[in-house]
Symmetry: C2
């Protein structure tokens, strides 16, 4: 804490009392919290053999299932379904065309039958053929009025309080926090700055090919239906290399889609932190791993255990899941 | 200057005397310098109708011909030629295969005949099939020992002192400075941080498709021969939208390849700054515009004049071109 105590209060006008406060109050005392704090202390202490310059303190976080809930389905998919309903009056043929008909009739069986092809049609119809600005405005409008089917809360409140604290803590220690997610980059930019404190330029995700065009004298960026980058699995270290150009020293995920990002982070020189959120709390959130359709955690769990990565046990490690919940006082055994 | 005087010295420990110093000493007094300073003052003065929050102070700069020289050819192309010579012993067939033979024999005519296809083969052979780390190490090694054919200086000294001052000035006013260039992103990252003070994550350029792979237990990012993004013309606002996700309030270029980036910047709400470096100095640098093979400035020059963008007259506006030159005292008329 030496360097923090000496320099940060001067720079930021903070009191020593504020710094002495627990930066991770929603984490139970235990190995997960301890490992996070030891790692941060090691890489930020000047003179330490593990010291990392502020510019190189890159931390990357998956989004779905790592920073917010991904059940009963990815929120972006629920957004797409709602957009189909909103846009249906302009597309009367959808009433009798799959997979749109299935969405309009809440026909889960027909929707499941339409498979990945059907989902891509739904994503295409709601995510492309419009400008980035229009798409983000649509996403913001939805996030304002839509409610989660289980909790009745806005989706932007279905975020993990312990991870919010970790993001804040890292930033207070001059880390640059990035989101690296399979979700659509522009969709995440619609809320990441307000909800997570992560600015647009630190949001990396899947992207469509765009086209700059001038219509009626106004330049716009049109989102075409062609996928430019699928930011999942190996796509994550690839986009980290392309967009950030530095190897992270800390990476956090929750599923097999994060494995390569963790491997890439782990393979760098010096001290690193690799973390997985393990969904173990069927009461307060959801419990799933190896056999889940959403956020499957199987190979990455094995590799984490083999290599001693940090597996967060949601039920045992987190005093609180969501910001709107009361704090649970139970201590980890 | 009110907000600057009040807050920056406190935050950064600067003296008022340092702030009072001219931030652009290599610019002659004249409209170009005046417009830059007026713009910065307007958008950074709290309470001004033109005020822009620090997080939104995004400034984008082309590289070739805007931050460093692009004559007699793009430096990245000269790097590729030198790499062909360095790698030739491992490729004996190059001695008798075009376009490689032309490079090895300095046969400008045969090289010209090989055209764009030939150039792409040369780029492919030197820029791809290796990891990002290896490629950047190669670029760094070249930049250390290669010398510019006209001045005999390292390429990293063929940079424009007035633009370096502008980058520093903008950053001192809490702008985030980006490079947005047709050049290869990784090539620019080999020097941008040390030379321009622009960190890797603020370098945007052309990219190849990469592939994450683990060989002998070590993860690496392999650069494949397939172009992922051509960051020229419309590709510039497209990459700005994809990577930054905010519209710049200041953009600087020097050629028609920057036109769409300037149009995109100009079309935003509020006060904006659009600048072009016009190469008018055949004595100290080069003079070229509408008919140049490299860095052609034609349509963008017309649009700049029609719309009142800032066209920097290198001969008249800059007291000094390169950091290694003495300051010229001549004043602009």
């Amino acid at each position: 804490m030496t360097s923090v105590r000496r320099t940060l209060p001067l720079l930021l006008g903070l009191s020593f009392a504020a710094l002495a406060a627990d930066p991770l109050p929603s984490w139970h005392e235990g190995p997960s919290k301890q490992h996070i704090m030891e790692f941060v202390q090691a890489v930020t202490t000047e003179g330490s053999t593990d010291y990392v310059k502020p510019a190189e303190r890159i931390a990357v976080f998956d989004n779905d299932g790592t920073l917010w809930t991904e059940q009963p389905a990815y929120f972006q998919v629920l957004f797409a379904f709602d957009e189909i309903k909103r846009l249906a009056p302009q597309h009367p043929q959808w009433k009798t065309t799959q997979p749109f008909q299935a969405v309009l009739e809440n026909d889960h069986q027909a929707l499941a039958q339409s498979g990945m092809d059907g989902l891509l049609k739904i994503i295409g119809a709601t995510h492309t053929g419009i400008s980035t600005e229009t798409f983000i405005a649509n996403a913001k409008a939805w996030l304002t009025q839509a409610r989660h089917p289980k909790t009745g809360k806005p989706y932007t409140e279905m975020i993990y309080q312990p991870m919010l604290e970790m993001l804040d803590y890292l930033r207070s220690q001059q880390f640059k926090t990035y989101i690296v997610s399979g979700g659509d980059t522009a969709f995440m930019r619609a809320f990441a700055e307000v909800v997570y404190g992560v600015p647009p330029e630190q949001v990396i995700g899947s992207t469509f090919v765009t086209r700059f065009q001038i219509s009626d004298g106004t330049p716009q960026i049109l989102r075409t239906a062609k996928l430019a980058h699928n930011d999942d699995g190996p796509g994550k270290p690839e986009s980290i290399d392309a967009v950030i150009g530095r190897r992270p020293i800390l990476a956090f995920g929750n599923s097999d889609g994060d494995l390569q990002m963790l491997q890439w982070t782990a393979a760098g020189a010096g001290k690193r932190f690799m973390g997985l959120v393990h969904h173990t709390d069927a009461t307060r959130e959801w419990a799933y791993d190896r056999h889940s359709q959403v956020g499957r955690l199987d190979k990455a769990l094995d590799e984490a255990r083999t290599k001693g990565w940090n597996v967060v046990d949601m039920a045992a490690d987190w005093r609180r899941i969501y910001p709107f919940e009361p704090v649970v006082q139970k201590q980890v055994q």
